[in-house]
Symmetry: C2
Subunit: 290 residues, 2 copies
Amino acid sequence: MRSHILGNIELDETPLSRDLEYLSAVPRGEEGYDEFSNGYWKNVPLWNASGDSGDDLYRDTDSPAQLTEHGKNTGYLRGLVEKVFDTDRITMVRARNLVDAVVIPHRDFVELDRDAEQYFRVLMFLEDNPAAFHSNDDTVINMRPGEVWFLDAGSVHAAANFSSDPRQMLCVDFAFDGEYEESDIFRDPAHYRPSTDARVIDRPPLPAERRAAIGDLGKVVDRSNFKEFLFFLSKVHFRFDVPAEATYDWLTEIAASSGDRVLVDKAAELREYAIGARELSERFSINSWN
Amino acid sequence: MRSHILGNIELDETPLSRDLEYLSAVPRGEEGYDEFSNGYWKNVPLWNASGDSGDDLYRDTDSPAQLTEHGKNTGYLRGLVEKVFDTDRITMVRARNLVDAVVIPHRDFVELDRDAEQYFRVLMFLEDNPAAFHSNDDTVINMRPGEVWFLDAGSVHAAANFSSDPRQMLCVDFAFDGEYEESDIFRDPAHYRPSTDARVIDRPPLPAERRAAIGDLGKVVDRSNFKEFLFFLSKVHFRFDVPAEATYDWLTEIAASSGDRVLVDKAAELREYAIGARELSERFSINSWN
């Protein structure tokens, strides 16, 4: 199932801006999945499995999730979530921010117990940012504030914010046992209003000269700068019409032409970790060579 | 005056490891100079102008500096600093960590009131890390724990840690009015034992093919990935025998061959900001294009 708009929520700017201010001031902790991103990435749990504000690892849990201290301190968002969504089905709610950064193409939920289809992730931008994108397979979108998006997190996806401006959003995770309709995430089915009126980014084909120059990066890539090239490659599909997954094809190609066997292995491991099958809490270090 | 070893302090591992553990657990705040680095960079003020634990901006101050909460919680380091250095001359003491990251070549103190020679910065590694380097003009060094280094922060310098292991260190800043001897930083002149026995890194010349490939990066650089190429270029001099400043020559060159006038301007501004004359607290954003 592809990512799409499930509904559209009217946001009340005044109380929302107070919550956004609070969330901006929460100090950023060490992120559980730091190696997937460069730049500034912050996850603030509002509801989670433990109710502990410092616990930001998504894991399988029996719903309903527990409200955290941060959830209690963002009253408008709490009310919004409780009014719009079926909180009995919620496993986690996070406020997320990504600034001047890219999250490399990856798949989620591959490490968990249930089939990926039993997990349902919803994203909603809380502020407009025309330089902030999500990708999903062969589509790149810019979400409008209030749009409730189903993100197919089990398929290859990525995110980027090419600006230094924030783009705070809500990430709401649901889990189901057995069959369900996507409208089941809403408390009131009237909120379920799927739409195809999305800001899809029109991307030109990747020019042949640029494609060749990407291949030539094998002449400068080495262990000391592998990460920079990974982030560089992860950004290409946001601008040109290539699938997100091509990131790993190019990485494999430049690792091979570098002549360093350790880079070849790292590229293969990274592809497997990011878009293959990784274990829960298994840590992968992009930049460790032992 | 070039960077050199001023003395050598015997570190007591057991109480030191307790302080290092405390410092590791201090949450990383938003760094005042975030745009100079990628990866993980943390500055924990132990002494500063205000005594406020959250205040990490270096600024001119009448010595002596105030002990912060973090300084009080790291008793071994506090005792060490008070025993070894003339605390009346200290303006700031920070515990710093840099992991899997590079700090781009820059000059410090250019924005302050006194002549750069009136500022005296001392670095001391608190743990061994063979993948952690400092550069200063045409020299790259790996500091041994306990070595007290004068760092010529007014000249072009950079730092990198190519590993995922920490390299915690102390950064002690002194300020003087008028003439002084470098031995004046020590409480007991017996600690002043300059040495040339440093771990200087032997770097091969930059191969012509790699130099040419760096120039070719103009074919792929654009506003969306300028930062990755800046960090890539900043790392080259740690491995090959070129001056740190060459980073900005290459950046200028690839910006010019990209054909994007905005990149050309950004490269010029960045060079001026990093190694020219910037204003105190002037914020420069590498990745803002307005």
